[in-house]
Amino acid sequence: MPWRLSCAAAGFETLATLKLTWSTPGGNMRTTASPAGIAMQVAPYRLSGAVYGTLLNHRTAVESLGDAIDKPPYKTAPRAPVLYIKPRNTLAASGDAVLVPTDADELEAGGCLGVVIGRTACRLTEANALDHMAGYLIVNDVSVPHAVYYRPSIRLKARDGFCPLGAFTVRAKVKDPNALTIRTYTDGVLVQTAATADLVRSVERLLADVTEFMTLAPGDVLAMGVAAPAPRVKAGQTVRIEIDGLGTLSNVFSRTPT
């Protein structure tokens, strides 16, 4: 399908440089013989192109709303996970420029942990959630800043190139996804430090609650949520996001396409 190819065109060849290990249905571990292009073709490590973001899943994001969370238009705090979709036109790779639209003075960088699904994930429990994951990657969930979360226009989150993804890291390389530090730098200056220990729903809990109503497929990405306040970025600045053990994701923000 053309849309799978367009994922490759968006820069996921970085995946192909990895040597991969996966679990077969029989439970055996297999590793690719060499760091070959196989990663793009062989499930579960081919990204499907579906990327879901999670709103208000970092303690600081909830706290930043203060009393507003119980007032109109929201009236009450969210009960179920609040998700949104970063469609395929938003996907980008490290090194790609993020275009700052002419009607925005600045953008928000949304450094967060993304989990990559490895096996069909439906009605998971906290206990078996991690078994269904292939691994992790860094997500920069870029937004045009907006103060109201009631029914924001998708213009604010779904613009071309608004979701750079880092290189893939297999699950086994990360001891505890709920004990990672996410550091965001603009032009080399540390502007945000966030801990996955502060997630409202842990990785396992979120996967369980999301897959109660929607199945995630191999290659889908679920971003765990951005901390507040998200760093603001102007055109000309470079954002680098680091997560322990997952490498870095670096993108220049620009007024003009590269």
Binding site: Y74, R79, L83
Partner: protein, 252 residues
Amino acid sequence: MMRARVACRGAIHEAIPHGKHALRLADGRVVAEDSVVWLPPVEAGTLIALGLNYADHARELAFSSQEEPLVFLKGPGSLIGHRGETRRPRDVTFMHYECELAVVIGREASNVARTQAMQHVAGYCIANDYAIRDYLENWYRPNLRAKNRDGATVLGPWFVDAEDVPSSNALELRTYVNGKLTQQGNTRDLIFDIPCLIEYLSSFMTLSAGDVILTGTPEGVVNVMPGDEVVCEIDGLGRLVNTIVADDVFGR
């Protein structure tokens, strides 16, 4: 031309109508239309959906007029084909269908003017975009738990080429629940019509071949219960059948 994607005889096939109750597979075999599994007729890319895009439905839900289309996105996991089943959880009090004209993009579209927009349309399908009102929350509306459930976006039965649907701006839509007409509208009443939607969307996101735009639903949404047969019909596009099932089917 009308095309379906069906699973039968151990493979997935493209099929075209053959008489009234049969399909002709690409390899020449003719099969009964109720002997196959109907899949969504296109392998959809980005699924884009419109809220409140008919004036009457917006009024029905007490919304005032809008400056910008109310757009939300859906994931690929929500899609099912013709004659599929959609689950109604037992704790729900209001679950409703939404019969919609689905527009399939055929050619990349970026910053396309409305006068050129229809050149980017490959064809059309019928969509039934279910919603569960009980799960609607006031955060990033409509939240995915209300609108993006497994099996809650029914697409099909056919993909119909754009050239065979010259008047996509004047198609009757009808929904029948257990044979009774419950919803009726016409695409001429879209607040934001197809060219306008393509112009708007392509101004900030590149649309690619396979992307699907569900253009919204007219008034007449009613609660549906397990066992109900919901049929969405659009002139020239066929009849899209779906059955509501209860939790027990899923072992819940």
